[in-house]
Amino acid sequence: MSEEAKQSLEFSEAPPRVNALRRFLKVFLGRPVVVIGAFIILVLLILAIIPGWIAPYDPNKQDLSIVLLQPNAEHLLGTDALGRDLLSRIIFGARTAVMVGVVALGIAAISGMILGLIAGYFGGITYAIIMRFIDALMAFPVMLLALAIAALLGGGLVNVMIAIGVGMMSGYARVMCGQALSVKENDYVLAARSSGASNIRIMFRHVLPNCFPPMIVLMTMMIGMTILFEAGLSFLGIGITEPTVAWGSLVNDGYKYLLTHPLLSTAPGVAIIVVVYAFNMVGDGLRDAIDPRLRGTF
C-alpha cells in the first residue's frame, strides 16, 4: 500500500471532527425566531441598564396639565392619569422586570440546586426528607405562596424576589435531584472517592458540574415564567409600590381607564408578552442546542 493510500485510509477512518461550539451555534442560530428572541433580550438588557438615556421623559414626572393624553407626536403612547409619559414608564419597567426576574431566578435555582444535590447525592433518609418537603412546596400554588411570603416579610422589591424564588425552587430541586442520582453512579465519582475526596468536594467539583446542562436550560426556560409571576404580583399590587415602575402595576393602573384609554393597560402588557416570548424562544433554542434529548422533559 502506498504512503498516500495509507494516509487517505486513516483520514476516512478518523471520526468526523465535531466542533462543539460550532454545532451549538448552528443549531441555536438556525431558527430565526430564536435569533429575534436573543435580539429582543439584548434590547431589554440595554433598556434595563440605561433607561434614563433612552426614555424620552422622567417616568415619575407628573404634569397635571397633560393628564390622559391620547397618543401623539410628543407622547407616543399618551400619558396616564397623573400626566406621566406611558412610553417612558414602560421603558423604566424593563429594569424592574429584569432585576426581579434574574434575582428571583437566582434564588430559586441556587437554593433548589443545593437541596436537589444534597438529596440526590446522599439518598436514603436525606433524600426522603428533602423530597417530601419539595413535594409539599409544590402543593402550594406559587402565586399564593408568594402572596403569603409577601405577607410574612412585608412589601418591597427584595421580598418579592424572595417570594418568587422560594415559590419556584421546587422545579430546580427535582431536576437537580434526578441528575445527581444518575451522575453519582459514574466511575469518576468512585475514583474521586477512592482517592480520598470529601463528600463536599465530590458534590461540588464532580457531581454538580456534570448536572449543569439541563439546569442551564431549565433556568433559561423559567426566566419568562419568573417575569410573568413578577408581573402578576405587581398587577395585584403586592410588594412593588411607587415610585418603582413595574409592568404589572402599569396594567392595573390603566385598567380603570379601559373604556376611554385602552392603551394605558394594554401597552404594558404587550411589553410583558414580547419579553416573555423572547425568553421562551431563546430557552427552546438553547435546549435544542445544548441537549435535544431534554425536549419534552420541561
Partner: protein, 318 residues
C-alpha cells in the same frame, strides 16, 4: 395496584403533614406578635398590656410551639380555621362560601385544558412540519406567554365594552340563574384555561414525537395498522405519561391563576379572598386559603397519580 394505592396515600398524608407544618409556621413566623392575628392594631392601642397577656393566655399562645401546632391541627380537622380579625366571623365559613366558585371556574378550565390541549398536541405531532403544526405550536408558544390578567382585560375590552356580548364582571350562582352564570364565566374560564392548554399542547407534541420514533411504533406501522390505531392504541398511551405529570402541576397553576383572574373579573372566589385578606392584614384568612388550596391540589394530584397505574403498568407492579 393495591399496594401502590396504599403507598401513594401514605405518602400524601406525609406531604400533607409537612404542608400543615409549613402553613402553621408561616403565620407564627410573622414579624411581631402572633397576637396580631387576633387583634387589630386599634385594639392594641385601647387595651392594657395585662389584658393582652390575658388574651394571649386564653388563646394558648404562651404554650410551646408544638403544643400550639397540635391544638391548631385539631381545630383544622374539625373545619375550624380560626376567626377573621376584620368581621370576626369564622374563616372556614368564608372559604366554604368561596371555594365552590373557584372550583367551578378552575375545574372547568382544567377539564377544557385536557380535552382541547392534548388532542391539539397529538395533531401537531402527527402532522409535524405542516401548516397545522406550525399554527398549533405558535399558539402553544403564545399561550404560555400571555399574562392571564392582561388577556382578561383585553377580552373585557373586546367582548364586554366594545361588542357588548358578555357581562364583564361578577358571579351569579348557576343554581340561581344558569344562563347568566354561563355568560359570566365564559371569559374567566377561557383566561384560566389558556396557559394550561398551551403547556399541554407543547408537552404532548414533544412527548408524542419522542414516542413515535420508538421501535414498537415502527413495528405497528409495518404490520400495516391504520394510522388511527398506531396513534391511538400504541403511541398515545406512552406519550401521555409526561403529560399526566404535567397535569398535576397544572392544577396548582390554575389555582394561582385564579387569584389574578378573579381580581380582573371581580369574582368573589377564594383567590380574591386571599388577596383581600393580605391587604387587610387578615392573616388567618390567608393561612386558611393556602391550606385549603394545597389540600385540593394534593388530593387531585393523588387521583392523577393513581391514573398512572392505568397508563403505565410498570407503576402498578414496580
Amino acid at each position: 395496584m393495591g399496594t401502590y394505592i396504599v403507598r401513594r396515600i401514605l405518602q400524601m398524608i406525609l406531604v400533607l403533614l409537612i404542608v400543615t407544618i409549613i402553613v402553621f409556621l408561616m403565620i407564627r413566623l410573622l414579624p411581631g406578635d402572633p397576637i396580631l392575628m387576633y387583634l387589630t392594631s386599634s385594639d392594641l392601642e385601647e387595651i392594657t398590656q395585662e389584658q393582652v397577656d390575658a388574651i394571649r393566655h386564653d388563646l394558648g399562645l404562651d404554650r410551646p410551639l408544638f403544643v400550639q401546632y397540635f391544638d391548631w391541627i385539631g381545630n383544622v380537622i374539625t373545619g375550624d380555621l380560626g376567626n377573621s380579625i376584620i368581621h370576626r366571623g369564622k374563616v372556614g365559613d368564608d372559604i366554604k362560601r368561596r371555594l365552590p366558585i373557584t372550583l367551578h371556574l378552575g375545574g372547568l378550565a382544567f377539564i377544557i385544558s385536557i380535552v382541547i390541549g392534548i388532542p391539539m398536541g397529538v395533531i401537531a405531532a402527527v402532522r409535524r412540519g405542516t401548516w397545522l403544526d406550525n399554527i398549533l405550536t405558535s399558539l402553544g408558544n403564545l399561550g404560555i406567554t400571555i399574562p392571564v390578567f392582561w388577556l382578561g382585560i383585553l377580552l373585557i375590552y373586546a367582548f364586554g365594552l366594545k361588542l357588548d356580548w358578555l357581562p364583564v364582571f361578577g358571579y351569579t350562582s348557576p343554581f340561581k340563574d344558569f344562563a347568566l352564570n354561563t355568560q359570566q364565566i365564559i371569559l374567566p374560564v377561557f383566561c384560566l384555561a389558556v396557559p394550561p392548554i398551551a403547556s399541554a399542547v407543547r408537552l404532548t407534541r414533544s412527548s408524542m414525537l419522542e414516542v413515535m420514533r420508538q421501535d414498537y411504533v415502527r413495528t405497528a406501522w409495518s404490520k400495516g395498522l391504520r394510522e388511527r390505531a398506531v396513534i391511538m392504541k400504541h403511541a398515545l398511551k406512552n406519550g401521555l405519561i409526561p403529560v399526566v405529570t404535567l397535569k398535576g402541576m397544572t392544577l396548582a397553576a390554575i389555582v394561582g391563576g385564579s387569584v389574578l383572574v378573579e381580581t380582573v373579573f371581580s369574582i368573589p372566589g377564594m383567590g380574591r379572598l386571599a388577596v383581600e385578606g393580605l391587604f387587610s392584614q387578615d392573616y388567618a384568612v390567608v393561612q386558611g386559603v393556602i391550606l385549603v388550596a394545597s389540600i385540593v391540589v394534593l388530593v387531585t394530584n393523588l387521583l392523577i397519580d393513581l391514573s398512572y397505574g392505568w397508563l403505565d403498568p410498570r407503576v402498578r407492579y414496580g
